[in-house]
Symmetry: C2
Subunit: 474 residues, 2 copies
């Protein structure tokens, strides 16, 4: 049954989004303006995300550290572009206890400065390189408009900061980590993303260039979720991070940084979920299977427990909902919380020799013989759901992918239905600014090695240099 | 060989401590006064601690959440005792971006207020109870004197905050979590601790009572590492957290909180480590075994890799140090980093049919036949080391445990060699304050159900009520 607490997605997408967040107990508003409480259901998804990504980072040789939460103003100001980008949106600590501080401190909006400050003292020679450091933490940016998971004053994230001997090694790292994000989106979150390079206007302050992972939401709006920056020697020069190279000469290190945030949870909702609540791809669902015994028969409960044990033993995370609630209530609760598979066991069905599987993604019910091998059947069903969710997301993305050859076409698309708009661009920031006037549409990324779809810029008509994807964004 | 970078423990304990922290790359000083950088080796220990504790918390039904980093001043001030305890030591955010805030926000020094603020809106009925929430985060307290892991302005920790229907259930939770900490110290960290109840003077601001886990360091100074608080309805009344009980009456919830921090890393150092660097009990060591091939013979390297693979397959975390450094350098590096077991494989030894194991704790070298079953031998050796480290710590603690029957005796002990001093106490805070005048000695905890060792208070000579352990502290 339709969940009354959830506005229909096609009626009011923004309201639907916050309704799903609330109904699935992912996050709640707090008394701290612009900061959310991540509730157990939301945090469990974040824990699973961190576990999978962290394992992958470590497999690739990265290690975790913890840098301080605070940055002295003087340290922040050393890199001009960075401070210009962040100064208007940092939170300032001015008092410690009852005393005013001599130098105010900001709560980190990002930690390049802190990593550089550490590397400056701890990198002496090429033997100390590469440094492949990462940290899981929260950062603060004083945003004006906030929405749970998408934009908030406190952001939970991971930030990798690496230092290398050579430009080519650092550039390879920048790309490697973008590939990790792409893999995570496609294989784990079942979200087809596009990857490319940010324009000068849209790149990270202080980076030589920024690679980005862009996903398309159900309503055609883009979500940037995962960026990887190549810094060259910019930060190293600002923070004096030098090393003795193999030729025994002092040289500045080459650096990268890369990050993803709890925005990915927002992406999961806006790509996969529906009017019944959250829908989670099995590989990221903290609980993959719920088993619901129907009726008070003890043998049914025992069977439910037996199935659950077998599934858990085989690395399928399941639980039995043995609470006092009615079966209908339990079904709805499992639906709103996005449990990928529900197994219903009832005595009448059992007499007929069947048990019922329900897919969360399609809401389809499947009756199977009670003699079925539950473990292998469930495993296969979860794989099918994962694949189907990805395939449907691809179809939706393709349906919302357009091509524009002039500003009129672009305007018409954005007036009707936003989406990924492929169009050629001359490379001039003035054209980007003009396009932004159409509903705030921005360049998402420059596609690399992409075919030319026109000779001329979609905006000014001058010679086109880049094949760019454009869209409005979260 | 003795590590030159490390001051001798018996010459200057404080200097020895910071030397070990630095030499083992556990933490580094940062440009942010009073905040440390936790380096990869230190963070790996913290990750292993969090993993083991988090699994145990979850096994007991707890779930993780994330509360905001910031607390509005008005919210903090609702519970009088708490704010009195923390106001002199919080960091205040007064500006967001370029604007002064209407209400200043403190960086959380602890999160009781935030949990209560959330519970107030999310607990309606006994059906919503218990709430067994925990969070892993950092908190900030504007300490004047700081030392890595022991006292710093930013503290990494875990804070559990639970809400219950009845006092007895909440009290049971308070004790259960203290048992978890005790288990963790004894079984995992190989640190024998004593547990008891804090005096009114030393309990957590706002708690009805505080249970504590107190460990004794090598130099006889106590370290409080893990506390569990019973709040009764104090916070619930201040923050209006009510629920409809089974009798359909509105009642305030009963609450607990409990926490441990990276101080435990400081404890590991000060209980187990030596003049050669870090010594880690195998169960908490992120890397348990290092294998060092001696010489350039490829077959030796292959054998080292084969051993390492077999150990890892059997859940013993090992690695091969195949770097270009000299064997002596590698030995010293593994020692300073506290790797519990070192396996040396050399061609000359192999010809004689032996390989060499070295224990980090005793620095003993053991030659074993190359036909030994490496996995089971290593497993057994790690267990022996774990047990021996615990046993030695018990012996040291017992040697530094004293009894005092009057202030003169107490003074003499503290003048000579601090340690756990057992003495009777009348219960009057004035006696606690007088005892504090002796080198800052404080009550560690009141022992529960302990034998009486005197009829009179160690200080005033009046009737004794409690058997208390006293000591100076970190």
């Amino acid at each position: 049954m339709k969940n009354d607490a959830i506005t229909s997605r096609d009626v009011d997408f923004a309201k639907w989004y916050t309704d799903v967040v609330t109904a699935a107990h992912l996050a709640a508003y707090s008394s701290v303006k612009g900061c959310m409480v991540i509730e157990p259901n939301g945090y469990a998804i974040w824990e699973k995300m961190t576990k999978i990504l962290d394992d992958k980072f470590k497999e690739l040789g990265h290690v975790n550290v913890a840098m301080p939460l605070l940055i002295p103003e003087g340290l922040l100001k050393k890199e001009g572009e960075l401070v210009e980008g962040f100064a208007p949106e940092v939170a300032w600590v001015t008092h410690g206890g009852l005393k005013e501080l001599e130098e105010r401190l900001c709560i980190r909006p990002t930690s390049e400065t802190l990593f550089c400050d550490y590397y400056k003292d701890h990198i002496k020679s090429y033997r100390d390189l590469p440094k492949l450091y990462n940290q899981w933490c929260s950062v603060v940016r004083w945003e004006k408009e906030t929405r749970p998971f998408l934009r908030s004053r406190e952001i939970f994230w991971q930030e990798g900061h690496t230092a290398h001997e050579t430009a080519s090694e650092a550039e390879a790292e920048t790309r490697k980590m973008m590939d990790v994000y792409r893999w995570f989106f496609h294989e784990i979150l079942a979200i087809p993303s596009v990857n490319g390079i940010k324009t000068e206007k849209e790149k990270f302050s202080g980076a030589e260039y920024t690679l980005t992972n862009e996903a398309l939401m159900y309503n055609g709006v883009a979500l940037q979720a995962g960026t990887s920056h190549y810094f060259g020697q910019k930060f190293a020069k600002a923070y004096d991070v030098k090393f003795l190279n193999k030729e025994q000469k002092l040289e500045y290190v080459y650096q990268t940084s890369w990050g993803t945030t709890t925005r990915m949870i927002g992406g999961l909702i806006m790509v996969h979920s529906d009017d019944y609540g959250l829908v989670l791809p099995p590989r990221i669902a903290p609980k993959q299977v719920v088993i619901i015994p129907i009726g008070k028969d003890d043998s049914i409960k025992e069977l439910a427990n037996k199935y659950s044990e077998e599934l858990n033993k085989n690395n399928i995370v399941s639980y039995v909902d043995g609470s006092e609630k009615s079966p209908g209530f339990k079904f709805a609760e499992a639906e709103v919380n996005g449990i990928p598979v529900r197994i219903e066991i009832g005595s009448r069905d059992l007499e007929k020799g069947i048990i019922t599987f329900a897919r969360r993604d399609t809401r389809e019910k499947i009756e199977v013989s009670k003699d079925t091998d539950i473990v292998s059947y469930t495993k296969e069903l979860l794989d099918t759901i994962q694949k189907d969710m990805y395939d449907r997301a691809v179809v939706r993305r393709d349906k919302l992918t357009f091509e524009a050859h002039n500003l009129d076409e672009m305007t018409k698309i954005l007036d009707t239905q936003p989406g990924f708009i492929h169009a050629m661009w001359c490379g001039d920031v003035k054209c980007e600014e003009k396009i932004k006037e159409i509903h705030g549409c921005k360049s998402r990324c420059i596609l690399e090695n992409a075919e030319k779809i026109d000779d001329k810029c979609v905006c000014c008509g001058k010679e086109a240099k880049h094949h760019v994807i454009w869209d409005i964004q979260y």
